[in-house]
């Protein structure tokens, strides 16, 4: 360091200060004064003048006012300025620098805060604001500082607000303001902004102040409103959809009831003429009114057989309509599968024998919990198909096993089989496998549809495994009687 002057009082400091743009390093001078120096400062505005004056050598201390982090740089100090004083000065400078940095950090934090921060003094005047407060209120810093806090209070609440403020002053603790209330501030343009305010008391130079942190909750309110509206809309839509569904259900029920009534009356109307057709055909066939020749016998036979077929069709339609309308009452009981299978097989046996078909039962006895008559109906329908589609000399096997907590009953035949693409359709009403290529087989086309409905009414499933020329295997599941989940 270079001596600037050789004559100086210890207590008196002549200071040369570069102060470009008039920016102050006054705090350094203030610090020197506080440290006990008597300071006389010469201020110069540009670096050239600073260096000229410095060469004059009349100064104890030269401070380059070009600031680093807001603190003037100590450019030089005079010789009489001993080591001790110099250190002291350096310490002062360091302290000043730290203070400035701290202040600047505080400023930065304050200004960077997303929430508006205002400090209010005991008279309710705004003494500190940040950038967010300007943005939120629409007032500039200059417009806010020194104003009463009520400048931001909605007009109708202003008179009450000063009372609240006094109450807070009596019990100054950190807490949210107006907890549970919808708070608003009034902007300069008169617009209301929903806010959340937290208050905390602070002490400044022995005086109490209140810091208010004001958060703009416009977005949150909007989101809340959107969620609420969305919820209300969904609720309304759901209610409307439910009502629609109810109406549709009622309509469907009504349609179903009308259909059932129609089918019942159709059945009645068709039976009445069938009654006499079948009856007289039977009477003629008995030949009690006189003998018939062979041809006449055959013709009467055709009438009789076809009218019985028509009757079967009517019975099946009536049955299916009854099942579909949900009017099927299952009379569940516990019974052994083997006996029921034997009974169903006994009914079909004459037809099987007529075609020289072997009819076998290979299953174990399994106790079922089902409608015994309906179970036999399902099995009978499957057996009827098996007999119908199995060529003479073939074999039909009925088996049973316990599988997945249900009894599975199967009917396998050595018949003509069914192509894979027809497997789903054969359970449809009036569908007859291969009907387009082999001609309509005798039957109603309802047997499998009825079987499927009956099985499903029991909670079971029906399916088919088959391929043309390789026979068919129909299987269906039925609920086991309680405690019968292991095959005997």
């Amino acid at each position: 360091m270079m001596p600037v002057s050789d004559a100086a009082s210890r207590r008196h400091l002549r200071v040369l200060l570069l102060q470009p743009n008039g920016a102050g390093s006054n705090h350094v001078i203030a610090q020197l004064e506080r440290a006990g120096f008597q300071v006389s400062a010469d201020l110069v505005g540009d670096l050239q003048a600073f260096e000229d004056r410095l060469r004059d050598g009349r100064y104890d201390l030269a401070i380059n006012g070009l600031q680093l982090d807001g603190v003037a740089i100590l450019a030089d100090a005079a010789a009489p300025f001993g080591e001790h004083e110099y250190r002291k000065l350096m310490a002062l400078e360091k302290e000043a620098r730290a203070q400035v940095i701290a202040e600047r950090r505080f400023r930065e934090l304050l200004e960077a805060a997303p929430d508006a921060i205002l400090e209010i003094d005991a008279q309710g005047r705004i003494v500190l604001v940040n950038a967010a407060a300007e943005r939120l209120s629409g007032y500039s810093r200059a417009e806010l500082l020194g104003q009463s806090m009520e400048i931001l209070t909605p007009e109708e609440l202003r008179s009450r607000h000063s009372g609240h403020r006094a109450a807070y002053w009596a019990h100054p603790v950190t807490r949210p303001m107006g907890s549970g209330l919808d708070l608003h501030i009034e902007r300069k343009d008169g617009a209301r902004v929903p806010v959340e305010i937290s208050l905390s008391p602070v002490t400044y130079d022995g005086e109490m102040r209140v810091t208010a942190i004001v958060r703009d909750i416009t977005e949150r309110k909007r989101a809340e409103r959107q969620i609420r509206e969305m919820h209300e809309r969904f609720t309304a839509e759901l209610t409307a959809a439910n009502r629609q569904l109810e109406i549709r259900n009622r309509e469907a029920e009504k349609a179903n009831r009308l259909k059932t009534e129609f089918v019942a009356s159709m059945s009645h109307e068709l039976r009445t003429p069938l009654h006499t057709i079948i009856g007289f055909a039977e009477l003629l066939a008995e030949e009690l009114e006189g003998p018939l020749n062979e041809k006449q016998k055959r013709f009467v036979g055709h009438i009789h057989k076809d009218s019985l077929h028509l009757l079967e069709l009517i019975n099946d339609i009536l049955d299916l309509s009854r099942i579909e309308s949900g009017r099927l009452d299952l009379r569940k009981e516990t019974f052994d599968i083997a006996n029921a299978v034997e009974e169903a097989m006994a009914t079909i046996r004459p037809q099987a024998v007529a075609k020289s078909l072997r009819l076998e039962w290979t299953g174990p006895g399994i106790p079922l919990e089902a409608d015994r008559l309906r179970f036999k109906e399902v099995l009978f329908n499957l057996l009827t198909n098996a007999v119908k589609f199995t060529p003479e000399g073939g074999c039909i096997r009925v088996g049973a096993a316990v599988q997945g907590g249900m009894a599975e009953i199967s009917v396998s035949d050595t018949g003509i089989g069914i192509a894979a693409e027809e497997h789903a359709a054969i359970f449809d009403k009036f569908y007859q496998a291969g009907s387009t290529t082999r001609g309509v087989k005798e039957g109603t086309g309802l047997g499998l549809a009825i079987a499927k409905q009956l099985v499903e009414a029991h909670g079971g499933r029906i399916r088919v495994e088959s391929a043309p020329g390789q026979g068919s295997r129909f299987s269906f599941t039925m609920p086991l009687a309680e405690g019968a989940d292991g095959a005997k």
């Binding site: 009645h268 009654h275 006499t276 009757l311």
Partner: protein
Amino acid sequence: MKRVLVADDKASSRELVRTVLERCGYEVIEASDGEEAVDLARAGRPHLILLDLHMPKLDGFGAIGQLRSEAAFAATPVVALTASAMDVDREQALAAGFSGYITKPIRLATLRSEVERLLG
């Protein structure tokens, strides 16, 4: 000879039943509606009555109601002969006092055995 009253609004149906029953050796009298059936029953004292359920003027239920209300017919077998195949109709008919229920179309064997059972 046992007498059977057959009530049906359809002539062909009456003829069918008459033919079957006469061959079995019964005497048959015919009514074409419910009112006539009740009148003929009172006049003719049949041993068995076959009533269609759907008839003009007075249906089968009306006829059985009148007949069963008269002491003379308290024990006379009366069979419903109807094209209604619904279970509810059968239950209703039996509850109304019918002794039997035969669904049309009849099979001759069924008719014969039912008549025999009741007149036995």
